[in-house]
Symmetry: C2
């Protein structure tokens, strides 16, 4: 299987949004994706770039993507977060996940960061096994916490 | 108990680093803090601001802090991450955690973000109870994953 991995362009965002939705659906959150193509174009390719995206092409079709951005650790300093690593369903098991992760790690090493972080669902055992084979540590004692839009509004009412 | 909550200045960074170390120690990771005062000054107050920090003052002493930065959700768009919320040990139980979190939530609401995220240790039940009382959701099925500095180096050797 041949892939080309390259930086995404604004023109790739419709395909990238499809992959975002595919992953959300796999994560049983199909309706959680509020983002639009216009949002992705503005946020990734406008004056203030909020993320960097790699895409994988096979025969001129986008079949995978990885989306990263900067974070800040008060222990390590600047770090990079891998928000999404998506391999289109038709391409699973072909090694594309590894090819995309290679690109991300090489990019992060060039930036000199001391950590790459991401999040994984604890029932997604194939993903966990894949990450652990790559040397990542799944911190099972750290949970993610969210105060969502409605939570923020309710919070403000009760201050 | 009277507190003043204000934006941190570069001059506050020695106190902020002490609070970072106090939290790391509580989290049983006292040796994980590699950051220096100079790093914090450069990253928070240089040309490229990587975080925003609030401090709480009591009688001209810094007794708490909250450190946030921007992230990007492929479901919701721009979000804000609360990296650390620290109340100095001598001030625990005085309501300062709430006062600091209020400030963070008000700031995030002004920015119009659709989510505030953070991370919590699953054995830190007082923190979890506090966050849940405030309307946050602890996503116990999402784990944090890290590829650390050594992991990145090893990864590159095996590509």
């Amino acid at each position: 299987m041949q892939y080309t991995i390259r930086d995404a362009t604004a023109e790739d965002m419709p395909s990238v949004l499809e992959l975002i939705k595919e992953l959300a659906s796999f994560e049983k959150e199909a309706n959680a994706v509020e983002l639009t193509i216009d949002d992705l174009v503005r946020d990734g390719f406008g004056a203030d770039k909020l993320f960097h995206c790699f895409v994988a092409e096979n025969n001129s079709t986008i079949v995978g993507m990885a989306l990263i951005y900067n974070r800040y650790s008060t222990w390590k300093g600047p770090i990079i977060h891998l928000e999404d690593l998506v391999v289109s369903e038709t391409m699973r098991g072909t090694g594309l996940g590894t090819v995309l992760l290679n690109e991300v790690v090489k990019h992060c090493a060039k930036q000199g960061v001391k950590r790459i972080s991401w999040e994984v669902l604890d029932w997604n055992e194939p993903a966990i096994a894949f990450y652990e084979r790559k040397g990542a540590k799944v911190l099972r004692d750290w949970d993610v916490v969210h105060l969502d839009e409605k939570g923020i509004q309710n919070y403000l009412k009760n201050i």
